[in-house]
């Protein structure tokens, strides 16, 4: 059947903006070959935006969920998986005269340690006193 096809293939385009981002779908285009799809994608989707990597995937290779099925349903309480399920901790910590700590605080702290200058600049007490 493909032999008689008179039209170009549809390619879905995925862009990775920086090394710390995943590839994100930005749209689709038609092209005769993956090579050309790639070259067209650069200008059709990245005329202004930065990127470090680009995928083009023939649409026929994609398996997707339906928008209408209950595929993503989570009906019962699943907050035990989430931060919001642990609000009690804050109250308990206060009993021990400690405050609740979140992961951002540790990430920020680790970053400060590796950069003494940043530590100086980012001390929260000083920012408040300004």
């Amino acid at each position: 059947m493909a032999e008689n096809k008179k039209d170009f293939d549809i390619f879905e385009v995925f862009v990775q903006e920086t090394h710390l981002d995943s590839h994100i779908h930005v749209g689709s285009l038609v092209a005769a070959s993956p090579d050309l799809a790639m070259q067209m994608a650069r200008e059709n989707f990245l005329r202004r935006d930065q990127a470090v990597n680009l995928w083009v995937v023939s649409r026929s290779q994609i398996t997707a969920t339906s928008y209408e099925s209950p595929f993503f349903s989570r009906e019962m309480d699943k907050t035990y998986r989430e931060v919001s399920g642990y609000t009690e901790n804050g109250r308990l910590w206060r009993m021990f005269k400690e405050k609740d700590m979140d992961i951002e605080e540790i990430v920020a702290h680790v970053r400060e340690q590796s950069n003494p200058v940043a530590q100086e600049e980012e001390k929260p007490e000083r920012r408040e006193s300004r």
Binding site: F8, S33, Q39, M40, R42, E43, N44, R47
Partner: protein, 263 residues
């Protein structure tokens, strides 16, 4: 000898003259091919390709703008005046680039021929004695990567498709061949080499170009028309066809309404 600034280059009139002369050849090539490319806007084989080709056109005009700016720093008129108001006989572009676009095959072949030459030429001054030029070469070479990739893809796919496409591609090569001569001609070449403004001779670059093109012609299953002819008319010395005169007239239509006005 390394020259950092235009003011230093200007203090050596012989050096400055050779440099200015060379920059005109580069700027005019880029402006004219960029202008021709832009005529494909809205006319390309498919919508996606239209968008892609326009970026190439913009890159070329952008490169012209870069060279005109260097010229202005060296005491020539402002970039717009240089681009829009010089008569045909003072333009230094290669003849091939000024011709009308004809069909897609002609445009693809011409562009690929030019891109590969331009890449060699950029490499020849990527270590130029004139710093502003070598710095620009490095940046332009990075943009040329996509141009060469894109145009060689077209060239090889259309050639290897056989049938009507192959015929049209071969016809385009034959049509272009007699116009190639002055593309490889560098005015005041001896001086440019002597001053280290460029570091490779046109003869050596031309040899590499022939080798690359021969490989691509073969890969695309097309026909090599034989030795590249010598210079007939020489665009580098201001000899041009009526195509260029019309191009300049069109390009300057609004500018010349009032060159003193701000547009």
């Amino acid at each position: 000898m390394k020259i950092e600034q235009a003011s230093v280059a200007k203090s050596n009139p012989v050096y400055a003259e050779a440099l200015v002369n060379w920059l005109y050849q580069l700027a005019d090539d880029e402006l004219v091919i960029g202008h021709r490319d832009s005529e494909w806007l809205g006319m390309c084989p498919d919508i996606e390709g239209d968008v892609a080709f326009s970026s190439i056109a913009q890159d070329e005009v952008g490169h012209a703008n870069f060279y005109f700016t260097l010229l202005h720093e060296l005491g020539e008129k402002d970039p717009d005046a240089l681009a829009f108001s010089r008569p045909a006989n003072s333009r230094r572009n290669a003849l091939l680039l000024e011709h009308e676009n004809h069909d897609w095959a002609y445009s693809v072949v011409r562009h690929m021929f030019y891109d590969l030459w331009d890449e060699l030429r950029l490499k020849a001054f990527s270590d130029s004695s004139y710093f502003p030029l070598s710095r620009g070469a490095a940046r332009m070479l990075r943009e040329e990567y996509y141009h060469s990739l894109h145009m060689t893809t077209w060239f090889v796919q259309l050639g290897s498709a056989g049938g009507e496409a192959k015929e049209k591609m071969n016809a385009a090569i034959r049509k272009i061949w007699p116009d190639l001569g002055d593309l490889f001609y560098i005015d005041q070449e001896k001086m440019l080499l002597q001053f280290g403004i460029i570091q490779e001779s046109s003869a050596s670059m031309k040899e590499k170009w022939e080798e690359q093109i021969k490989g691509l012609v073969q890969k695309a299953g097309l026909t090599w028309p034989g030795p590249v002819p010598g210079v007939q008319m020489n665009g580098r010395l201001g000899e041009h066809s009526d195509d260029l005169k019309r191009l300049i007239e069109t390009m300057g239509e609004v500018y010349t309404l009032d060159p003193a006005a701000k547009w």
